[in-house]
C-alpha cells in the first residue's frame, strides 16, 4: 500500500480530537508522577520545527507492562477492530532522519487495526496504539532487542 493509499484508508485526527486521545492515553497508561515525566516530557521546548518534548511516553509507562515480540505485537493488534495510533511529539532537531514524519506530529490516526498493522513503516518508530476503551495498549519502540534482532515492543493493559 502506498502512503497515499494508507492515508485514504485511515482517518487523521486533528485538534482537538488528537489531543483528547493523547490525554486519555496518558491518563490511563503513563505515570505522570514519574520524575522523568515531570522534569522532561511535561516540559516541551521550542525547537526549530515547533514545540516538542524530549523523551518518550514509554519511558514513564505504568507497571505492569510486558516486552513482547514483533510477531506478538502484530497478532495482538490485528485481533482488534478500530484503533488509534499516535507517536511522541519530537523535533527534527533530535530525530535527524529526512522525511521521518508522514503525518502532522501532533496528529493521531484512527483506522482499522489490520491497516495500521500493515503500514507501520509509514509511522514513527515509537508509536502507541490503543482503542477507544483505553484498556490496553501496544507500543512499538525504537529500542533494539539484540537477542531477538528486532525492535522492542511492549504490551500493557488488558490485552493478552
Amino acid at each position: 500500500m502506498t502512503l497515499d493509499e494508507f492515508k485514504m484508508a485511515i482517518q487523521v485526527l486533528q485538534e482537538p480530537a488528537a489531543s483528547e486521545v493523547r490525554a486519555k492515553y496518558i491518563l490511563q497508561f503513563i505515570n505522570t508522577q514519574h520524575e522523568f515525566y515531570i522534569n522532561v516530557i511535561s516540559k516541551p521546548k521550542q525547537f526549530s520545527d515547533g514545540i516538542c518534548y524530549e523523551g518518550y511516553l514509554w519511558d514513564c509507562l505504568r507497571q505492569p507492562f510486558t516486552i513482547i515480540t514483533f510477531a506478538d505485537f502484530i497478532r495482538d493488534l490485528v485481533g482488534h477492530d478500530q484503533v488509534f495510533a499516535f507517536w511522541d511529539v519530537h523535533s527534527r532537531d533530535r530525530i535527524l532522519v529526512p522525511d521521518y514524519w508522514h503525518f502532522p506530529k501532533s496528529a493521531a490516526l484512527s483506522g482499522p487495526a489490520k491497516i495500521i498493522a500493515e503500514n507501520l513503516n509509514y509511522l514513527p518508530e515509537d508509536t502507541y496504539i490503543c482503542d477507544n476503551s483505553f484498556s490496553w495498549t501496544l507500543i512499538a519502540t525504537h529500542e533494539m532487542d539484540y537477542k531477538r534482532n528486532e525492535r522492542v515492543y511492549v504490551r500493557a493493559g488488558e490485552t493478552g
Partner: protein, 61 residues
C-alpha cells in the same frame, strides 16, 4: 555482539561515524532507569552503512 561504543566526546564519535559511514537517527538525553530501555545515558542512535542499528554514548552538552 551488542554494538555499543563508548566515547567521551561527540567529536570523537563524529570521526568514528565518518569512517564507518554511519548515519545518525536521533539524539537522546537518555532514558530513565527501570524502564523499557537500558540506555540511561545521553546517546546517539545510528544506522551503520549496512543498516544495523546501534547506540553510542555521548557526553551530555
Amino acid at each position: 555482539v551488542l554494538p555499543i561504543f563508548r566515547a567521551d566526546l561527540v567529536s570523537q564519535t563524529d570521526l568514528q561515524y565518518t569512517q564507518a559511514g554511519a548515519k545518525t537517527k536521533e539524539i537522546s538525553l537518555g532514558h530513565p532507569p527501570g524502564g523499557v530501555s537500558s540506555h540511561t545515558y545521553a546517546h546517539i542512535n545510528f544506522f551503520t552503512k549496512e543498516g544495523i542499528k546501534g547506540t553510542i554514548q555521548i557526553k551530555p552538552f
